[in-house]
C-alpha cells in the first residue's frame, strides 16, 4: 500500500479529538520517512460543527486534499458524519467506525431523524469494515478522551509502520501522567 500515496480521511464532530489524531499521524508518517500533508478547516469547528480532516502520505505528496473517490482509509468518529463524506471513498476502502452518536441540532429539536442504517451502509460500502466502541475502550483504558488514540491503534494495525514510531509520537503529545492511559488506549485499539 505504501508505494503510492495513501489517503486517510477523518470525519466527525468538533471536539472529538480528530485534529489531534491527524497531527499525531502526520508526525508518525514523517518520522517513518514519508512525505506527508494534511488539511482541515477549523475556526468554527470547536462549536460542534462537522469536521473533516485529510491526511496523505507517500513518497511525494502534492495536494493536501484527497480527490473525491480516492480515500483509502476512512476513520469516522461519529455515525451520522460517517454518511456525509461517502463520495470521497475509493471503490474498496477500509472503514473504521467509532460507535458514537452525537445529535445535530435538527435531531435535538425533534425536527429530523438520526439515520438508523449507518452500519449497514458502511458495511456494504467497505472492503473492510470495523465498528469500534472507541469511547468504551478509552474509558476502560482510563481516559474517556482517548477514543481518538484507540482509533490510532486500529489504524496502526492496518499499516506497516513500526509500533515504536506511533508510541513515541503519542507520548510526545500528552503530559507524562496521561501517558499510560493513552498507551493502553492504543493497545486496545490495535486488537479492536
Amino acid at each position: 500500500m505504501e508505494n503510492k500515496v495513501t489517503n486517510i480521511l477523518l470525519v466527525g464532530v468538533g471536539g472529538q479529538g480528530i485534529i489531534l489524531a491527524s497531527e499525531i499521524m502526520a508526525d508518525v508518517f514523517m518520522e517513518a520517512g514519508f512525505d506527508v500533508k494534511k488539511s482541515e478547516v477549523h475556526g468554527m469547528a470547536q462549536r460542534g460543527g462537522s469536521v473533516s480532516t485529510h491526511v496523505r502520505f507517500g513518497p511525494r505528496v502534492y495536494s493536501p486534499l484527497i480527490k473525491e473517490g480516492e480515500a483509502d482509509i476512512y476513520l469516522a468518529f461519529e455515525e451520522l458524519e460517517a454518511l456525509r463524506y461517502l463520495s470521497f471513498l475509493s471503490p474498496d476502502p477500509v472503514i473504521l467506525l467509532n460507535e458514537q452518536r452525537l445529535n445535530p441540532p435538527g435531531v435535538s429539536l425533534g425536527n429530523e431523524d438520526y439515520p438508523a442504517d449507518v452500519k449497514e451502509v458502511l458495511a456494504r460500502r467497505a472492503k473492510t469494515f470495523k465498528s469500534i466502541p472507541a469511547r468504551d475502550l478509552a474509558i476502560r483504558a482510563g481516559d474517556a478522551r482517548a477514543a481518538n488514540v484507540v482509533l490510532l491503534g486500529t489504524l496502526h494495525s492496518l499499516l506497516s509502520i513500526p509500533e515504536k514510531t506511533w508510541i513515541d509520537q503519542i507520548l510526545k503529545r500528552f503530559p507524562a501522567n496521561a501517558g499510560p492511559a493513552n498507551l493502553e488506549a492504543f493497545r486496545l485499539g490495535k486488537t479492536a
Binding site: 500533508k37 462549536r47 435531531v107 435535538s108
Partner: protein, 596 residues
C-alpha cells in the same frame, strides 16, 4: 541532522518571520490568519501584539519599519480592507526595515463574510505579492519577502489561502539571521511625510520600482518552469499548483511564486513552447486576464470555477474535460450539523430574549453571529466588523418613530473595540435613538479566545490595563449604560424593553465570560435534569438551541394529565447548569439533580 517539523502554513510563516529577525509583529485575529501571531508569540526576541484592529496593526508595523526594524502585519482578507488606507500610501513612502503584510484569503468562505481575492490589492497598492503553495514555501517566501521589501524599498504582501494557512506539510528549520538594516531613529521627511508635494515626487518612484520588480520576477527562483509534455502548459500558483500537479503531473508547468508583478517574458516564452495554455487559479481571473492582455490564447475561467475553492477533482475536470462523476451512493438528505453556540454560552440568553421580543437585530462579526441560526433566529444584518451600530443608526434616521422600540444593535466586546467605538460616538454625536448591546464575554471567542484591550492581558500573557466598557461608553456621551447578567433572562428582557424604547442613545452590556475561557471561570453549575413526569412536551426549552437539550419522541401523558408527543432530555455530560432552560420552563420540570 537537519531539523524538520510538520507545520501549518501559518506556523511556517511565523517560523520564517522568526528566522528573518522580525522585531515587531502586529495583527488582529481573523480566520484563517490567527495562528501566525499565536505561534510567533512563542518565539523569543520580538514584540508580538494583538492590535485593536488591522489598521492599527499595519500602522504599528510601519512605524517599526520606518525605524529600520523588520516588521510583520498579519490579517485575514477582509482585514486588509480595514488596513487599506495606510497600505496604499505606505506603498509611496517605502520603509527602512523590511515590512511584510500577510493576507490570508478564505476562498469558499469557510469562516468569512465574502471571498474577495486580495491579489487585486497588490496591483491596487502597487506592491509585490508572493504566494506560497505549501508550508516550506510559506517559510521560505516569508524570508524572501523581507529581503525584497528592503531591496525594492516597498512593503511586500504574502498571500495565503485557507488551504495553505491550515494545511500542514514538512518544513526544514533554519536558524534566525541578524537583519542587514540596523534599527535607528532617522529623519527622512521628504519620504515619510506624504503631503501632496512629497507624494508627487514619490509616485514616479513607485512606478519605477514596480518596473524593476517586474524585471526581477523574470529570474526570481520562485517563478520556475517544470518542463513536461509540451501539449499542455499550465500557469499556476499557490494551492492550485498542488492540485494541478496532483492530477496532471506530466504536463509542463510555469509555477509562479510571485503573482504580482508577473514575469511577462517568462510567460511569453513558456506559452510559445506549449500547444495549449491554461491558467489554473482560484477565485478571480487575476493572472488569466493579464496573460490575455499580452495577446496570448489561454483557457482559464472557462474551464475552472470563479466561485469557491478549487480541489483536485475540479482541476482534473477542467484540464481533462471530464464528464461529471457518477455518484455511487444515491444522494440522501442528512441532518445538517452547523456550528452552534456552546452549552452555557452567555450569548444564548440574550438571543432567546431578542427572538421573543421579535426585534430587528443589526448584527456583527463573532460567535454571536450564530444567533442567526434557528431556533434563535435573531440576527437581521451582518456585513463587517463594527457595522451593527451604523446599521442601527441608519435605520433610526431613515424610519424615525417607526423604528423606535423595534431595532437593536448587538456587537461583541472585541468587535466593539475593533471598530464599534466610532459608530457609537456617531450615535451620540448625531443624536440617534439607538440601543447597542455589547456582548462582553471578555475575549475574542470566535477565533479561539485571543486577548484584546478589554481583557487586561497581552498576547504574551503579560498583565496590562483593562479598558472599562461602562466608563468608555459614558465618556463617549452615552447617558444610559446598563450592565446585565445574561444568565438572568427576566433581567435581560426588562433591560432590553426599557432601553429600546428610549428616544436616546443607550448601551446594555451583557457581561459574563466565555464558557471556554482559559483564565476565568465561566458558568459552571451542576448539570440539570428534566423531571420527566412534569415535562409537558412544549419544547420551550428546545427553542434555546442548547446542544445539551434533546427531544425524545414518546407519546404519553405527564403528571398533570397533559397529553404530549415527547419530552425534553438533558445530556448531563454537556450541561453546565446555566439554568436558562429552567427559567423558560413553565412547568417547573427542569431542576437540579437534588431537586433544587
Amino acid at each position: 541532522m537537519e531539523k524538520r517539523a510538520v507545520l501549518s502554513g501559518n506556523e511556517a510563516i511565523a517560523r520564517g518571520a522568526f528566522e528573518s529577525g522580525v522585531k515587531v509583529a502586529a495583527a488582529y485575529p481573523g480566520t484563517p490568519s490567527t495562528e501566525v501571531l499565536e505561534n510567533l508569540g512563542t518565539y523569543p526576541g520580538s514584540h508580538v501584539e494583538w492590535s485593536p484592529n488591522e489598521k492599527v496593526a499595519l500602522e504599528t508595523a510601519m512605524g517599526a519599519a520606518f525605524g529600520g526594524a523588520r516588521a510583520l502585519a498579519v490579517m485575514k482578507h477582509v482585514g486588509v480592507n480595514v488596513a487599506a488606507d495606510p497600505l496604499l500610501t505606505l506603498s509611496y513612502t517605502g520603509l527602512r526595515g523590511g515590512l511584510v503584510l500577510v493576507t490570508a484569503d478564505d476562498p469558499e468562505m469557510h469562516s468569512s463574510q465574502n471571498e474577495q481575492d486580495n491579489r487585486h490589492y497588490a496591483r491596487f497598492a502597487k506592491v509585490p505579492m508572493l504566494e506560497p503553495s505549501d508550508s516550506q514555501e510559506a517559510k521560505d517566501f516569508t524570508r524572501i519577502a523581507f529581503d525584497l521589501s528592503e531591496k525594492f524599498d516597498t512593503p511586500v504582501m504574502l498571500r495565503t489561502t485557507t488551504r495553505v494557512s491550515h494545511s500542514k506539510s514538512i518544513v526544514r528549520l533554519d536558524e534566525p539571521i541578524v537583519p542587514p538594516v540596523k534599527p535607528a531613529l532617522v529623519r527622512d521627511p521628504g519620504k515619510l511625510v506624504m503631503l501632496p508635494a512629497n507624494s508627487r515626487r514619490r509616485h514616479p518612484v513607485v512606478e519605477k520600482r514596480m518596473e524593476e520588480a517586474a524585471r526581477f520576477a523574470e529570474t526570481f527562483s520562485g517563478n520556475r518552469v517544470e518542463w513536461g509534455d509540451p501539449k499542455v502548459g499550465i500557469i499556476t500558483s499557490g494551492i492550485s499548483y498542488e492540485y494541478a500537479k496532483e492530477v496532471m503531473p506530466g504536463a509542463s508547468f510555469l509555477k509562479l511564486g510571485m503573482v504580482y508583478p508577473l514575469p511577462k517574458e517568462l510567460i511569453r516564452s513558456f506559452a510559445s513552447r506549449v500547444e495549449k495554455l491554461y491558467v489554473v487559479e482560484e477565485l478571480d481571473p487575476f493572472i488569466e486576464e493579464q496573460v490575455r492582455a499580452m495577446g496570448l490564447a489561454v483557457e482559464g475561467k472557462s474551464s475552472f470555477p470563479i466561485l469557491g475553492e478549487l480541489n483536485p477533482l475540479l482541476v482534473e475536470k477542467g484540464l481533462k474535460n471530464l464528464p461529471p462523476r457518477e455518484k455511487e451512493e444515491p444522494s440522501r438528505r442528512l441532518p445538517a450539523r452547523p456550528p452552534i453556540m456552546c452549552p452555557g454560552c452567555p450569548h444564548r440568553g440574550v438571543f432567546s430574549v431578542l427572538n421573543k421580543l421579535k426585534l430587528f437585530v443589526t448584527g456583527d462579526i463573532g460567535c454571536y453571529t450564530l444567533g442567526f441560526l434557528p431556533p434563535l433566529s435573531a440576527i437581521d444584518t451582518c456585513v463587517c466588523m463594527g457595522a451593527s451600530i451604523g446599521h442601527a443608526m441608519g435605520l433610526d434616521k431613515a424610519l424615525g418613530e417607526e423604528a423606535l422600540g423595534k431595532v437593536v444593535a448587538v456587537i461583541g466586546d472585541s468587535t466593539f473595540l475593533h471598530s464599534g467605538i466610532t459608530g457609537l460616538l456617531n450615535v451620540v454625536y448625531n443624536r440617534g435613538a439607538v440601543t447597542v448591546i455589547i456582548l462582553d464575554n471578555h475575549t475574542t471567542a470566535m477565533t479561539g479566545r485571543q486577548d484584546h484591550p478589554g481583557t487586561g492581558c497581552t498576547l504574551k500573557g503579560e498583565e496590562t490595563f483593562e479598558v472599562d466598557m461602562v466608563k468608555l461608553a459614558k465618556s463617549l456621551g452615552v447617558k444610559h449604560v446598563k450592565v446585565v447578567n445574561p444568565y438572568d433572562l427576566a433581567a435581560v428582557e426588562r433591560a432590553i424593553k426599557k432601553e429600546v424604547n428610549r428616544p436616546e442613545p443607550s448601551v446594555i452590556i451583557s457581561k459574563a465570560p466565555c464558557v471556554l475561557s482559559r483564565r476565568e471561570k465561566g458558568v459552571s453549575g451542576k448539570p440539570l435534569s428534566v423531571h420527566s413526569e412534569l415535562c409537558a412536551g412544549c419544547r420551550s426549552c428546545l427553542r434555546l438551541g442548547c446542544p445539551a437539550l434533546a427531544w425524545v419522541k414518546e407519546e404519553g401523558i405527564n403528571a398533570q394529565g397533559k397529553k404530549r408527543k415527547g419530552r425534553a432530555q438533558i445530556d448531563s455530560f454537556l450541561c453546565n447548569g446555566c439554568t436558562l432552560c429552567a427559567q423558560v420552563c413553565k412547568f417547573g420540570a427542569i431542576q437540579g439533580h437534588d431537586g433544587k
